[in-house]
Symmetry: C2
């Protein structure tokens, strides 16, 4: 009577295994100070303008005349309209407020969005990528069987992204129904030019596929010619769902807020995906907290924008520091220009986990093994720019001076 | 390629239809002041002790040394331990902190919990009941076909709760795999003695069924001999999942916090349901906001408890007022003693919707048609005690003096 699909998932989640290894190391070496550049959690505190907005909203909740009960399932208009205006219309994307669904975060949305599709769809994912896309589909019974040795699911279409193709996925040979694109990519820290994204939109429209576009890192884009939203591409309203997060641009990992955009034109089998997602939200979700939605709104104020840009610049200085430092030390490094992740090729043909173990043992630095993000991540390693600058320098110094 | 199960759901959600009718009425009669005793949303502001805790937590998020990023997926220990101690151990229930899963609310948990079961399970529900249990199972393809005329799904086991059986469900003739019990019940406002609940636990253990026990209204129980938690019953650790909410006891409808308890002994097909739910949380959820979890903790302080008890007493005075008033006016009324809902038999054999329309048209009072909660709700009507005392009196006066 249980959902046996859950049993198919490999025993332990990537970050649990890392946590366990780190704990064991610390117990064996209590004197060592471990520097963590593993999990993608931010470290800078919430910006002052956002704090003020939250304090104000807390006060409102304490008075009968300004108290707010159930929020609208799909989000407060004040936030949806702000997003439509500043994230979309300001970039020339025709997205209306009522096409934006506010949620408690991009992880929930990334995990739940598969529900509106049939059990029989074929999904395609970049390889390596954020594990939630595949795992949530496995739990829904979509991915076939797992080949432990290859680290691959029989029914998933993998699109390898490696240094050989400059981390730009090729169109798959089999035809997917749903294509997950995370750009800028987690974990590789790389992205694609807007022209390439346009090719993907054209491909999806030609094949009738739906693109689920995870733009959680768009605020880190520094290069021109890179799209911040998939709706900058022509025809995207007919094929793309976009998921956004406040976790990385405004430090909301512990505040929890995100949103998903589904244009009204997006239909499959004659049915509006907007309507399906609205029904899902209405039935299994009860809105993001009022206080947190006010925090989200504050992100878009002039002061809020200035403050979060400083935070992003802080993290991107870390990224540049890691990238340069490792490059000087002879490592082959990628990413870090349009994303807060550095992706490095492990030296001496070490596996990702071998490099993880050595880095921890010899330098007391924690990163994330690339193989945890998919089979093509093997032989790579992820470092994040989300630490403090001091810790970033410390980690770098240790990596450079240790014979790994 | 879409999930066609969504298409099987009847067109419009109960509360959307109500909202539409109310809007039309107001447009037609702009001078009328409508009193809303329909949707179960609270009106009292958040208690002072909880506000203080939230302000403090907001301040913590603004300083690097106290900032909190990702929360543990399953909740912060400070909250899980407080709940284990005060909601369970204080009542003699052996529930450990690590059996408690913190979430963004009971609606999400009620909707998502079905995921850990196979697609082939049979569910049983009290009739009438909170619509999310059935709807979320329909979306997962479990409920067969809908008979619009009877308002029933072919594969759902309905357990009628009417005045004829004092709203106490009988064991079903068919054997369910999962039994949803919402006690005290929404919408009938009634509950069962602990001895009856013990019978249900024994029944579930004998049949190998799992009980999903929604205890969202437990704080409203005033009578002794009624269980606040299903774990007060012997053997419940082997068969029951309990879902709790902060929405109704502490006014968190717009704050969003809830939790689900799954004891470690609860296994089916040899698999721990605790492990399955942990995996679901870990994959598709990223923890409730730190600020909100601190708010939840404050609910359990001495001052917090005193303050929320005053709010509950305020609403229960409304309940008693409605109940007495309607009873005096010749209505047959139920509930309102252990729950904030009044359930009344419509007069003159009116249907639920006929009574809704008349009440709106003639008295400008909004309630909820009982048939919206299940076929056996036909001929009944729900009023909630969550309005202000003044509005409650106003509604009552109108109902008493109007010839409906």
């Amino acid at each position: 009577m249980i959902n046996t699909n859950y049993q198919k998932l490999p025993g332990s989640y990537l970050f649990s295994t890392i946590a366990k290894k780190v704990k064991e190391y610390q117990e064996k070496h209590p004197e060592k100070e471990i520097v963590r550049l593993g999990i993608g959690d931010v470290t800078q505190p919430i910006a002052p303008t956002i704090l003020t907005a939250m304090h104000h909203a807390v006060d409102e909740m304490g008075k009968a005349e300004t108290f707010r009960g159930y929020a609208p399932d799909l989000g407060y208009d004040f936030l949806r309209e702000t997003i439509a205006k500043q994230d979309y219309k300001a970039r020339g994307c025709e997205i209306e407020a009522d096409e934006i669904f506010i949620s408690d975060g991009a992880k929930s949305d990334s995990g739940n969005i598969q529900e509106i599709f049939a059990e029989t769809i074929r999904i395609a994912v970049c390889d390596p990528v954020y594990p939630v896309y595949v795992d949530s589909n496995v739990m829904a019974g979509r991915c076939g069987t797992y080949d432990e040795k290859r680290g691959m699911w029989s029914d998933v279409i993998y699109m390898p992204c490696t240094r050989e193709n400059s981390f730009i996925p090729a169109f798959p040979q089999e035809t997917p129904d749903v294509i997950y694109l995370c750009l800028p990519n987690n974990p590789t820290g790389t992205t694609v030019p807007k022209t390439v994204l346009q090719d993907w939109v054209d491909y999806a429209n030609k094949q009738g596929a739906v693109i689920i576009y995870d733009a959680a890192y768009e605020a880190y884009i520094t290069e021109s010619g890179v799209a911040h939203s998939i709706y900058e591409c022509e025809g995207a309203r007919e094929c793309a769902i976009e998921i956004r997060s406040f976790s990385k641009n405004a430090g909301f990992t512990g505040v929890r807020l995100g949103f998903t955009v589904i244009p009204k034109e997006l239909k499959r089998d004659g049915v509006s995906l907007h309507g399906l997602w609205a029904r899902r939200h209405g039935t299994k979700f009860n809105g993001a907290p009022y206080i947190i939605q006010r925090a989200g709104e504050a992100v878009y104020t002039v002061d809020g924008q200035r403050e979060i840009k400083e935070q992003i610049a802080y993290y991107m200085r870390n990224a540049a520091t890691i990238k340069e430092g490792l490059s000087d030390a002879g490592y082959e490094v990628f990413g870090g220009v349009n994303a807060p992740y550095i992706w490095l090729k492990t030296p001496d043909q070490m596996t990702s986990w071998e490099f993880f173990d050595r880095l921890l043992e010899k330098a007391a630095v924690v990163g994330t093994p690339g193989s945890g993000f998919g089979p093509s991540g093997e032989g790579y390693f992820r470092l994040t720019a989300f630490g403090s600058y001091e810790n970033t320098l410390k980690a770098l110094e240790r990596i450079r001076t240790t014979n790994l």
